[in-house]
Amino acid sequence: MFDVIKYRFLFYTFSLILVLGSIFSIFYFGFNLGIDLKGGSILNLEFKENRPEIPKIEEALKDLNLNINFQPVGEKGLVLKMKDISEETHQKIIEKLNSLSPIDESKESFQTIGPSIGKELQRKTNLVIILCTLSILFYVSIAFRKVSRPVPSFYYAFFGTIALCHDVLISAGLISILGKFKGVEFSIPIITALLTIFGYSINDTVVVYDRIRENLTKKTSQESFEDVVKKSINQSFLRSFNTSFTTILPLIFIYFFGGESLKYFALTLIVGIAFGTYSSLFLAPQLIVDYYLRKKKNRS
């Protein structure tokens, strides 16, 4: 069987490349902020017959001076994004488009969000992220307080949280890249997905840690700490995979059938949960082993 401890530097390299790539993307490309975070208006509509060509639509709305971004959806659909507009302007747009080609008003959706709401949400989100990180760190330290030899329980929590940040960063990096190249927005649903990854992804790590905790109590004198960790990872492999796979499965259906508004929410969760399983098997325990080995070396 593949030695998951001996070849840990392969995993480190793989993770490092992905994390650095994500950080680069987030700082260089940034996020394509959704209107729920920066304010603005979004109009979703469907024409009764085929959609007129975009230049014609642009022409019709030219004198409103709105700098609208147009996105065709399917054969009849159209999404218009712009700065936040009044109800009056909204009605003017509808009127003009209606005279171009009739619109199915029962399938229209319109959302406009003032900039103050977006700012407030951004501030609250920061607070929630900090609270989530602290509570996870705290909870895992408490839950593993009984394993303190040979590595103190705090380090389990610490490396678990590092693995968690790795999962969330990679998912966020993906959204950033998709934002740059496919126009995917960083919005409240995406933030919700990232926070959920925070809460759920630690689960697999807990399962592996739990196994290490149990195996440590049964440890024989011939076994080294590395051996115990290796054994625990191999024993947890199938159950970690299965718990994640059963969670990802329904999300795959949301991605394909759940409609446009939940698509990237589901994708973020899928990626985050998959990497969560990966990092709980190939990153967090290995980091603990490295910490242990360095401490041992320093001592001797």
Partner: protein
Amino acid sequence: MDKYIKLIFILVLYFICFNFVFPDVLKIPIFQKYSFHLGLDLQGGTSLIYKVDLSNISQKDQDSALESLKNIIEKRVNLFGVKEPEVRIEKNLQETRLLVNLAGVKDIKEAIEMIGKTPYLDFREEDQSNTSTITFKKTELTGRFLKKADLEFDPKTYSPIVTLEFNEEGAKIFQELTKRNIGKRIAIYIDDNLISATVQEEISGGKAQITGKFTIQEAKELVRNLNAGALPLPIDLISQESIGPSLGKIYLEKSLKAGIYGLIGVMIYMILFYRFSGFLADLSLLLYAGILLSLFKLIPVVLTLPGIAGIILSIGMAVDANVLIFERMKEEKRSGKSLSLSLKEGVKRAWPSIRDSNLTTLIIALIMFFLGSSFVQGFSLTLGLGILVSMFTAIFITNTFLELFENTAFEKIKILWP
């Protein structure tokens, strides 16, 4: 507890949940009383957020002014005939907001106009500090003291006059205002537009007139709007979301489809992997979905699109506990233990990780709930509820089923067990 008593209890639960979710099959009246509450995004409708301007009102009057604002908007919305309208005041550190949710409104345009057109009436006096040009400054007399408005005609010119009658408190303020402005002008503003400014004498009795230059039609409309409730506080639409009724239906259908496929997918996977015990886990997964949906009807929880996403996600999470227990059972059985012993060991050994992993998700769901955005709230509420219910079904229900087959011929059929 005897396992057969447990079984009867579980069967009753199945029966109750089945009737909650499908009340039209057996048509038992108690269950037919409850229905699902769909959010605006799933049934179509409009959600409006207004910023309330409290800058011209003293701290102590704020609550009563907000209360009357809420009542007036409610009155307007009710005139419009919306089913279960929701009008709410929301205060946070930065600003006070008025939330209006109108479900299933067909003519959204008109609804917004109806609320938006509520005139904001206020009286202003000359600003003494500015001598070169005459400007007006705000006074405390606003539409919130208005009792009623009427349309009359000037007996000489036959031009329309709008008369205003204040309530007791407003009459006092008006008298004081006119008294200190004798010989000066008092201006009447509607929606920040100067309507009239007349030189004053003291007026008691709480009646005022607006003799602006309006047509009869305009005057009529103003009177009607003022009577429907002049707004006590100025409001400004800062956010709006409207969803066409058939669009909401499409969202609902799509998310339900994804949910049902997801449920079936998970059930098949469990059977493939854990055979008969997987089948028993599937039975409890169905009960899980049943309990969750019944709770949504009972509490009631308003179902939104993110809420449904939360339910679907929790389906996958619900079997996690089963996976952990079954994997553990496999190990115990491999070491030669009987089904009942390995079940007991499996539950005991898997419990700490089930508890820890569910609690961390629950903590995050709880923190997220307080983020306040409706998407996050809808999602974290159903996710949190789902986790709580799943801990019960995945452990208690599945184990009771498994106990039934302990020491039976079933236990010996190797192909049934993983």
